[in-house]
Symmetry: C2
Subunit: 414 residues, 2 copies
């Protein structure tokens, strides 16, 4: 994979020019893209700033994020060739940092569950996950050092884990979702993919203009709770093994690790995710549903059909459940003495077949809670498919989530 | 003015067809628009549904709200002729209710403070207020029975008060801001203008799919606190007189009215509004600022110039201040025994001149708090300009805010 920090260091020292760095990326794309299919389009002649902390860093932009210089098709023929007027703020921010939004990456249509044609770089017969399929796959294939994605259920953490890259779903609204096609305004969260935890932390700190995110200093040993999310079906043995391996690595690195059973209310909050997501997408995609229903892919169309029947009162009740669970989660961290939660990133390795994107059940609660989530690769299956774990901290504590993930990443390497 | 409920009743009873209702609106537009200038464009041949609770109701759409069938120019030459792909969800919702999004209404550029050319229907030399200038003026001039606006500081309540119509800024995110050009994602709130409180309540209940908003039954006498917002400069005598008059009307209608001094922390929250708004618009309009700075109007350009210097830490501190004040405001209502707050809608009547849009200082705290605000006309100055008051309730209590405003509206008429 292409390390963002490594590229930055080579550019800073003059061993590589920003243009040269973009050239390396173009070579990688030429070599891997035909087999992976992670990109929707590539800018043939982008502006390449020569200054800025991310000068020369080519970035993949999930194709539901508005770009003024490249089409934004939402993974759907309804938006084929669509050209937004403006860059989304996160794209403008990347440019202001010197980065080059070089390519749009594949997304499932409107970031729901209907799959893309993108292949998992570790096995062409397996899904890369979704909805941020192209961003995860492009970083995993070494085509891009950084890519943006979004998560409403499990659309960053799941594909990152399936592709063996680091994925970060930051605190809700740490990065603005302005200019990002909305699915659910209470859930949609903008995040990123990179080759390592320090790469991801560096990018997020710059994007969010909060240097502390990449320079988190922890006082004393981290107190980590192993959470098994037993309000939903158990994972595959490979996910359980990865969790145990990550826990041992954290202990070796000095963390105090213990099992932690989430109070029952979090099971209720987990169940509330669906009502919120479905009620909001009924509104967010109301125009598409009313005018282009036949052009919607089958899973999304069925979800929208079903969503028409949700009562507003059920949505309001789900919002209240989520609100109380968010407060409860603060208590879990403060009163129960946890700095971080370590849990499954996905039910296992990427499933076989390109007809689905895998299961987001271990991600949905955390998206609803708005808390930072970081996944990092831990293991490989016998077929060579990566298996990750997920580190979670309290709302706003993105730096600590990355610090904890970095600690585990280093310990796994030792 | 055109009453929405009156039109609906005439259509329901068969005395008027939906097409006939739209025809009445077209006649009114032909008569008043040349002198007012409230509309950006009018759909020459819109679909006119024959069924639905708002069949035949023509609606004005503030020109920062996406419409698939009409251009959306954001009040700026940067977006001249711009055609979004999709309707904003609120526009799709209007259509699904049978309403006809007939016209786009003038907005100050990007909904900031640079004025439009729209005139106050009560005096052509006075501003209609802003930023939702055209929506307020079109309803006031009897051109439309309903219009949509947005408020980030005081962009619904202020123009409604200046134009002598009812304006509603609902609870934050009661109506989705998806497809609405973002200024500040923590503040932007979608709302509406109508000729009377029952008209506004009927429309909001339908738009939000919450019938209780228009059918609020209050147990016992309303406890109303008169709040003078003395953390900012005192209003003109006409605003003070309107507040006193509205308070007396509420008492006549059976409410228990008393003066209430907001705790000091709300002054701090009032001050926090600017940092949040300015920090967020720096991101929201980053593309426009980076690529079209010279095409931005002077007040917005100056605001964006200044906003470049805001520290992220100052923004984070302002967000914390606002968060604590929101919790504090819940206590004001529950522990201090208030059902509603009655306060100034604006510092006075619409100022003379079309070179400014008036002052939002009595609106900004409440936008930041996310609570429902309703303004209704109370008085007229000797020059014939309306003066309003503002009713505020706790978050989510939109029905009670409209019920309290309706009670005052009726008592003023008696």
């Amino acid at each position: 994979m292409l390390s963002l920090l490594d590229l930055c260091a080579r550019i800073d020292s003059g061993r590589l020019t920003p243009e040269g760095a973009v050239g390396l990326v173009r070579e990688a794309i030429a070599a891997r893209e035909p087999e992976i299919g992670a990109l929707v389009c590539v800018d043939p002649a982008p502006a390449i700033p020569t200054t800025g902390p991310l000068a020369g860093i080519a970035v993949g932009i999930k194709d539901i994020i508005d770009t003024a210089d490249l089409p934004t098709a939402m993974g759907s023929p309804i938006y084929a060739g669509w050209r937004p007027r403006a860059d989304a703020p996160v794209v403008a921010r990347l440019k202001s940092l010197g980065a080059v939004p070089l390519a749009k990456t594949t997304t499932t249509p409107f970031a729901f569950l209907d799959p893309t044609a993108t292949r998992n770089p570790h096995h062409p017969g397996h899904t890369p996950g979704g909805s941020s399929a192209g961003s995860a796959a492009a970083v995993a294939a070494g085509m891009l050092p950084l890519a943006l994605g979004t998560q409403t259920g499990g659309s960053i953490i799941r594909p990152a884990a399936f592709c063996g890259v680091v994925g970060v779903k930051p605190s809700f609204r740490l990065l603005p979702t302005v200019g990002v096609k909305c699915y659910s305004w209470a859930l949609d969260t903008l995040g990123l993919f990179a080759a390592s935890v320090p790469d991801a932390a560096h990018a997020l700190a710059l994007l969010a203009d909060r240097p502390a995110i990449a320079a988190h200093a922890d006082a004393g040993a981290l107190r980590i709770g192993i959470v098994r999310q037993d309000f939903c079906a158990a994972p595959d043995p490979e996910a359980e093994a990865a969790l145990a391996r990550a826990a041992r690595a954290a202990e070796r690195a000095g963390a105090r690790v213990r099992d932690y059973a989430l109070p029952a209310r979090f099971g209720e909050a987990f169940a509330a995710h669906a009502a919120i997501q479905d009620y909001e997408v009924r509104q967010s995609l109301a125009w598409e549903y009313a005018t282009h229903r036949d052009a919607l892919p089958p899973r999304l169309r069925a979800a929208l059909d079903a969503a028409q029947g949700i009562e507003t009162a059920a949505y309001d009740a789900a919002r209240r459940t989520a609100h109380h669970a968010r407060r409860g989660l603060k208590e879990v961290f403060s009163e129960d003495g946890l700095d971080a939660i370590l849990t499954y990133a996905a039910p296992g390795a990427a499933p076989a077949g390109l007809d689905q994107t895998g299961d987001s059940r271990f991600n949905r609660l955390w998206t609803l809670m708005g808390v930072p989530c970081v996944t990092l690769p831990v293991d490989r299956t016998s077929a060579g498919l990566p298996v990750g774990v997920q580190v979670i901290t309290r709302f706003g504590d993105d730096g600590r989530a990355l610090a904890a993930a970095g600690l585990i990443e280093r310990a796994l390497r030792d």
